[in-house]
């Protein structure tokens, strides 16, 4: 039994890291822009479909462009749509981003049809590895490595680059950042683009793992919201810890109470919120009080 628990735990970690990647983008968009982006799952779906099309046309190497293109699409959406919401009621942004999510899903259905698309991992990563009781596909190991590398790179970007410092400062006091002469609209477009890039990267990685269909974004958005809520809105560290917790809890619930696996993360969220209403690492942010 210990073997099975260990095996499920490793599996849960891979799932958790993928969730983290989706949730971090959602978290920074909320932290910096104050927008609860219901369309985040749609950018995840765009990333998956772009990776699919690029792979079919030019091979797997080209799929690496999918996250960048998703980020660019995100920046355009911010300039055209999201920018108009910053001084509006939070409810307006909820409705608008929700509508955007439905629109993207409908467009994907129109272009690609409703049927799921076959999308396999690249040939060199098609096998699996066994370490004792642990069984994991080579592709999942690759996803784990890419996700960790992306999270470390993003952390270094936030901590050590001037743009990263502006993002962190802007997330706490955007007015002051503006008064210091920094062109805030460009920064905000960049942040939204980065959030979408991370969602696109997660979509690209999840495409061969899951089933690429127009509704793939809906499957990703709920765990992402749960993770952001458990970790604390806007907290990078919180998103990582909560993502891993959700992955582990889901995998271990499958082992012991499979019919509860769909609700396990919501129970976890309820428990965390009862103990810590702001989430695990949630702080009091003056601008959102």
């Amino acid at each position: 039994m210990l073997d099975m628990i260990l095996s499920q735990a490793v599996n849960g970690l891979v799932l958790g890291f993928l969730y983290v990647l989706i949730a971090v983008g959602l978290s920074i968009i909320f932290g910096m822009l104050g927008i609860v982006n219901f369309a985040h799952g749609a950018f995840f779906a765009i990333g998956a479909y772009l990776a699919l099309v690029l792979t079919q046309q030019f091979g797997w190497g080209a799929a690496l462009l999918a996250p960048l293109l998703t980020g660019l699409i995100g920046m355009v959406v911010e300039m055209v749509l999201i920018r108009r919401l910053y001084d509006k009621e939070p409810l307006i942004s909820l409705i608008l981003t929700f509508a955007l999510a439905l629109l993207v899903e409908a467009v994907l259905r129109l272009v690609f049809g409703g049927a799921p698309q076959p999308f396999s991992p690249p040939k060199p990563l098609a096998g699996f590895v066994e370490w004792g009781a642990i069984l994991i596909t080579t592709y999942r190991v690759a996803v784990l490595c890419v996700t960790i590398a992306a999270l470390v790179a993003f952390w270094a970007f936030l901590a050590y680059t001037p743009f990263g410092r502006i993002i962190r400062a802007g997330s706490r006091d955007p007015e002051m950042v503006g008064l210091l002469g920094i062109n805030l609209p460009i920064v905000l477009s960049g942040v939204f683009g980065i959030g979408c890039l991370l969602a696109g990267l997660a979509g690209m990685l999840a495409g061969p793992l899951w089933t690429v269909s127009p509704a793939i974004g809906a499957a990703a958005i709920m765990p992402a919201f749960v993770i952001v809520t458990i970790g604390g809105l806007g907290s990078y560290r919180g998103a990582i810890v909560a993502g891993l917790m959700v992955g582990l809890v889901t995998a271990l619930t499958v082992q012991f109470y499979p019919d509860w696996s769909g609700v396990a993360m919501y129970v976890l969220m309820a428990v965390v919120l009862i103990a810590r209403p702001r989430g695990l690492f949630g702080e009091k942010w003056e601008r959102f009080e």
Binding site: Q8, G114, S120, P258
Partner: protein, 417 residues
Amino acid sequence: MGDETSPRSGAFAINRRNLLLGATAGAVAMPWVGRAHAAEPIRIGMLYGKTGPIVGQSEHLAQGSFLALEQRGGTLLGRPTEIVWLDEPNPQGAQQNAERLVGEHKVAGLVGGALSSHAFAISAVAKKAKVPFIATNAAADALTGASCNRYTFRTQAPVEVQARVLAPQAAAIGKKWYLLTAAYAFGQDIKRFFGQYAKEIGGTIVGADDVPVGTQDFSSFILKIRAAKPDVIIGGIAGSDLMGFLKQWSELGMRGRIPFAEIAVGNTDLWGVGPEAADGLYTSTWYYKNPANPPDEQAMTAAYEKKYNRPPADKAWMGWFGMNILLDSIEAAGSTDPTAVVNALERWQTRRGGTREISFRPFDHQLTSTVVVLGVKPKITDKWDFFDVKAEVPKTEAEADALYGPETASACKMDSI
């Protein structure tokens, strides 16, 4: 999603000239007004999901349905006919849209119910509104069992019938089974039947998991199955869930190591998995490469391929077949009067699977159609042709009675019109 109608509807758009002509005709001779009314299009209500987990199958069901009407030149009883297609996002949405089709669009009949839970909701509306309903894709037993009604007719073989076909084939491979079933009616019916059947043949259930609908990651379930070492996995998961499972099953190197068997699985599910990961033994209602298909179905295959540049999936045929039955019955009834159409449906019959006449059983409105057993080819070379036809049953009346069960075993208490 907006309403969608067949292209014929555009031909009857009212313009100013038509309006003027109509008014003039009415003024000159009042009796002509009655005839003008007779040219009103006949509307058929269709409910297949445009959103939700079943959308991959719905697209094919709808295409087959539209083709059935097109092959008749878009007319019935000499009147233009159109299909009004509404979404069925969930059972409640299915019910509301069925009510809209009856109330707003005044449809002559309903076709649809891509999921059993949706079909139950539509069936309840059909009963209340007294409108015939053909359930084409619902497999839950109760639809023509305890929840049957005079207005609901089912073309798909229910879970228990398909399970009776598949269970001996699975038992021939081995008697240690692992049940992986969805946490709703379809999966639970499969779980109950195979659990009972295993007991009867002295088999063992080495594991049984209920899978939440919409599960994306099956690796944890696969690890459990691998540890339990069953002879066969009996599946009871549908649509994108099944695709996700088979894909991850193959990636974890399990393809071909433990056979996977499931009832009521179609081409679309396996096409979405792709030839590298497709695996298993299935029952289905139809296969386009089955040499026993009658001539009209071969003609339908050719017409569909010409229109959509791919062969029809079993779901396209199910949509086509169900729609044709309703259209045939309206023609046979000579009117769109619901009672006349229901009576015509009860008399409707056709010949499939050899010499046997198939029809709806009067006591539960279940069609006693044939079921094909399909095995995934060891090597897939054609991107559409994934299966070998292993068997098609029932061949005789006696076989049909044994498979579908006698009237005395039916839980249906058929009401009167």
